[in-house]
């Protein structure tokens, strides 16, 4: 069944006509052409497809387009702050949190979700928050370090206003 929906995607409002059963992941990648959101499994088990839906991180491979009318979606392509990389992005580069990079979009979105709620996470809390995001390359240590460093930077930015 085709459906007309209106969504806000990375701050821009757009209207679409889509099959109601189309997964949000496929909608983003195949219909809209934003391939920064990755597909690792398509079954909700790897976190590579993590995006923000109405402010909360979700696996976009588990969301149907039919549910999306009026939704606000942010993807990796919307993570930058203006032309500047987000501190989380910078920290992933600095600390070596990126290797093949295929899990990176999902990792960044999930890290942002954590830091949105908790700017002072312990290592345990970071590891717990990222435990649904699989990475086959890094061994996670440098990713955890990057989230810690990004948290420190965000705290500094907040303190400076």
């Amino acid at each position: 069944m085709m459906m007309k929906i209106r969504i806000t995607l990375n701050g821009k409002s757009i209207s679409l006509e889509v099959p109601a059963h189309r997964l949000l992941l496929d909608l983003l990648r195949d219909e809209i052409g934003l391939t920064g959101t990755k597909e690792g499994c398509g079954t909700g088990d790897c976190g590579a497809c993590t995006v923000f839906l109405n402010g909360k991180p979700v696996n976009s491979c588990l969301i149907l387009s039919g549910e999306l009318d009026g939704a606000e979606i942010v993807t990796i392509e919307g993570l930058k702050i203006g032309p500047e990389l987000h501190p989380i992005q910078k920290a992933f580069i600095q600390d070596g949190g990126v290797q093949c990079g295929y899990c990176t979009s999902g990792m960044l979105m999930m890290s942002k979700a954590l830091l949105d709620e908790n700017l002072n996470p312990t290592e345990e809390e970071i590891r717990f928050a990222l435990s649904g995001n699989l990475c086959r390359c890094t061994g996670y240590a440098k990713i955890v370090q990057a989230v810690q460093d990004a948290a420190a930077e965000l705290r500094r930015m907040r303190a400076e206003g």
């Binding site: 990648r29 195949d30 052409g33 934003l34 391939t35 920064g36 959101t37 990755k38 597909e39 690792g40 499994c41 398509g42 079954t43 088990d45 790897c46 590579a48 993807t75 990796i76 392509e77 993570l79 930058k80 990389l85 992005q89 992933f92 580069i93 600095q94 070596g96 990126v98 290797q99 093949c100 990079g101 295929y102 899990c103 990176t104 979009s105 960044l108 970071i126 590891r127 717990f128 990222l130 435990s131 649904g132 995001n133 699989l134 990475c135 086959r136 390359c137 890094t138 061994g139 996670y140 240590a141 440098k142 990713i143 955890v144």
Partner: protein, 790 residues
């Protein structure tokens, strides 16, 4: 040596920014104009004759462009043995083998049409263990094996289903056993696991109807090998084939060779020039790409009372799966050093790669070394126990040091093994009682209340050769803005080669790193490279890029000579400038040199090729070669574990990994490689296994059921870089990609045995297996636990 400016520095990755913004385009992301969508039908039978295929209904389905079977793609391919059809011909040999394929206007349509294809099979007996498959009387999985085209070095031998028999013969093992004070014999098993790169597999292909040219877009780690293989299979000259490499979301060996590529190419011959994309989903990636070889390993050693090794005999059965792919070379390169990095006067090794009716096994990070080490390094600890010797002392008595003649006939140099052994074991406070803060186990108090928690330490050593001899070629371009472009066929699979090679070019041309970029990988434009495998790239391609950059630099200096009015004065290059050595103020930026000589769009190109010339293949009868490998990588990893005897759960408390890299061109990247390898090794030690049932079906083809390590599963990791320079390597570098996971399971196995007093010979060390091993010890007092191989 000249002061290094960029080589040796922990610079951040050159490809990181495009990856953190989502701009990077991977194979799985690629959309081509006008493309069609392909889907395959996979065999539900492990071994069966195809009696009939009916595609009529699928062909009628609206939106379908082509439906093909093996008859429409009558080609076979393979690297060392040409045994694998593009689509099944007459019979299927494993569950997951592609049998037919559909191209359609969209993916849903293609999938719907695939379901309409009917196939009738006639079952044949199937084999699921390599040891079973080569028993006398077993029926052949490949009836026409004898007629397949093969590389010269293939020695199938006389047993059924064996596609390679590797032999190593040094001294006289029987004599060695007679002279020994202790003879010990054991059997170990390593199950099938998978690479599980987070990006699944996909390939795009297009055939130009007029020129017949075939273009393939795929994140393949060896595009030149793939090109060669397609060319041989199709009988098409190499100029008619082009591979374009989008980014690769991890591979670990799985993305070499041809899997999904053959389906895409076969379909592209039936789409009137339109490109076709074939994507495997996760389940298809599990059942129909590549796996790591399962291995059944028998090991027998003779040792003197003082710990000196007298003799070692090993028989290794490598499960090739249904097609040979890399099995012959995994069998050779994995069996050769399986007796371990030790001086042993009498050695006999027989490695058999045997076809089974399981998914195809291929190259996997480590290329057979982890399997051999699982057996050899636990066996070493068992010997130490019998001799009442400290396992470190036993290793120190026997390990390779500079100048040793290895049992395959090569004199070794640049051996950093001893240093890795000492540093890795020190890092976990070897010899001291559990150094780990009891608080982490719930406090001293809690530990006293929990007598079921047992702590143990263990370690393992390895050496790993690289593919030899092989060639890498490279080009380095300098434009009039002073920007550098590196043309190199090494594939960025996440390992960081684009950063390492950029550092090398920047070092030789004395420019900042941000002036260097890597050209995209397209076989029409990029010079030949053997493959991005075997940890060979830093060494081989590093040497090629370095020499190409030096070639460009020398050309620039020659051009600058008249501009600087230099006669016999010596010129030098630094900070992006060419200058007179004695008058450094007489300087020209390299971009200006190019512009003044060749104009604004001028380009100076340096070229080079690197081959480890003296590398020699192994002798077919003895397995000997005096230069078997361009270099050897050495490593020791050590683990401290806590085992809960009530649940069988193993928790790793801390783990060190000391790796001899020759020279760390980028220490940050080295640490990242080591940590990533460790994580993979820990997964393979504790829980990874492709569960294949007695009918040959993979029972856990998803990330829900195939357990990869998560951020919660890992201990404190202590990467240690050891630099024992390799004189031939660029700046002394060796390689590092693979060894990170090679000694890991054995180190953990030794720690677990230390903790619970039982030797577990099968992987993985999951709670169930560990629990039953403890129960058996309690019931029978046995100190060994060996489950039967499925």
């Amino acid at each position: 040596m000249e002061q290094l400016t960029i080589v040796g520095k922990p610079v951040t990755r050159v490809d990181a920014e495009e990856k953190v913004t989502g701009e990077a385009v991977y194979g799985y992301d690629l959309v081509l104009p006008d493309m069609l969508y392909g889907k395959a039908l996979f065999s539900p039978k492990p071994h069966a004759r195809i009696k009939r295929i009916n595609t009529e209904e699928a062909k009628q389905y609206p939106g379908v462009v082509a439906v093909i079977t093996g008859k429409d793609a009558p080609w076979t391919h393979g690297e060392s043995i040409k045994d694998k059809p593009f689509l099944a011909q007459d019979k299927v040999r494993y569950i997951g083998e592609p049998v037919a394929a559909v191209a359609a206007m969209d993916e849903d349509t293609a999938q719907a049409a695939v379901r309409l294809i009917e196939v009738e099979y006639e079952d044949l007996p199937a084999y699921f263990s390599p040891e079973e498959a080569c028993k006398p009387g077993a029926i052949p999985i490949h009836e026409n094996f004898a007629s397949y085209r093969k590389f010269d070095f293939i020695v199938p031998g006389s047993m059924p289903n064996v596609c390679e028999h590797f032999k190593l013969r040094t001294g006289d093992v029987e004599k060695g056993f007679r002279e020994a004070d202790l003879v010990l014999e054991e059997r170990y098993y390593v199950p099938v696991i998978q690479h599980a790169a987070i990006e699944p597999h996909s390939s795009h292909a297009q055939v130009d109807p007029e020129s017949g040219r075939v273009t393939i877009w795929v994140a393949n780690d060896a595009p030149f090998r793939a090109l060669h293989e397609i060319s041989e299979a199709l009988g098409l000259s190499q100029e008619k084939i082009r591979f374009i490499n989008p980014l690769q979301g991890g591979g670990f060996g799985s993305k070499g060779g041809l899997k999904v590529e053959t389906i895409a190419v076969a379909l592209a011959y039936h789409t009137k020039g339109k490109p076709v994309r074939v994507k495997f989903n996760r389940e298809e990636t599990f059942i129909s790409t590549l796996t790591r070889h399962e291995a059944v390993i028998h090991i027998k050693s003779g040792v003197k009372q003082d710990g000196t090794l007298a003799a070692r005999q090993m028989t290794l059965y490598w499960g090739a799966g249904a097609y040979a792919e890399k099995s012959p070379t995994v069998c050779i390169r994995g069996s050769l050093p399986a007796p371990g990095p030790y001086r042993i006067p009498h050695v006999r090794v027989d490695g058999y790669a045997a076809y089974t009716n399981k998914p195809v096994a291929g190259s996997f990070r480590g290329y057979g070394i982890p399997q051999g080490a699982w057996a050899c390094e636990q066996h070493m600890d068992e010997i130490a126990k019998k001799l009442r010797m400290d396992p470190v002392e036993l290793r120190l008595k026997n390990i390779f040091v500079d100048g040793d003649l290895a049992y395959w006939g090569e004199q070794l140099h640049s051996v950093g093994l001893k240093e890795t052994l000492i540093k890795a074991t020190q890092a976990i406070e070897w010899g001291k009682p559990p150094g780990f803060p009891a608080s982490q186990l719930g406090g001293e108090e809690a530990r006293r209340l929990k007598p079921n928690i047992k702590i143990g330490k263990g370690f393992a050593c390895i050496s790993k050769p690289t593919r030899t001899p092989t060639t890498s070629k490279a080009g380095v371009l300098v434009n009039s803005k002073g920007e550098i472009t590196v043309l190199a066929g090494t594939v960025e699979i996440g390992q960081g080669c684009s950063t390492i090679l950029s550092q090398v070019a920047a070092e030789e041309l004395k420019v900042p790193l941000d002036k260097v970029r890597m050209a995209p990988l397209d076989t029409d434009m990029i010079p030949f490279d053997a493959s991005t495998t075997s940890s060979r790239s830093t060494y081989h391609m590093g040497n090629a890029v370095r020499r190409a950059a030096i070639d460009a630099r020398e050309k620039l200096m020659e051009m600058a000579r008249p501009m600087l009015e230099a006669k016999n004065e010596e010129l030098a290059c630094s900070n992006g400038k060419v200058y007179l050595k004695d008058q450094p103020q007489m300087a020209l930026p390299i971009g200006d040199v190019v512009r003044r000589k060749l104009g604004n769009d001028g380009i100076v190109r340096g070229d080079a090729s690197y081959t480890y010339e003296i590398g020699k293949d192994l002798d077919l009868e003895t397995g000997h070669s005096d230069h078997a490998s361009a270099f050897y990588m050495y490593a020791t990893q050590a683990a401290e574990v806590a085992v809960d005897e009530e649940t069988g759960r193993v928790r790793i408390l801390r783990m060190s990994a000391a790796h001899d890299v020759g020279k760390a061109i980028n220490p940050l990247n080295c640490a990242a490689q080591i940590e990533g390898g460790l994580a993979m090794g820990i997964g393979s030690a504790l829980h990874e296994e492709m569960v294949i049932d007695s009918q040959g079906k993979v029972r856990n083809p998803s990330f829900l059921d195939y357990h990869l390590v998560t951020s919660l599963d890992l201990p404190e990791m202590i990467p240690i870089i050891v630099e024992c320079p390799e004189p031939e390597g660029p700046y002394g570098a060796k390689g590092l990609g693979e060894p990170g996971l090679a000694p890991t399971p054995a180190a953990i196995g030794n720690a677990v045995a230390d903790a619970i007093g039982v030797r577990i010979c099968d992987l993985p060390l999951n709670p169930e297996r560990v629990y039953w091993a403890i129960q058996q010890k309690r019931a029978k007092g046995s100190s060994r636990w060996l489950t039967e191989v499925a």
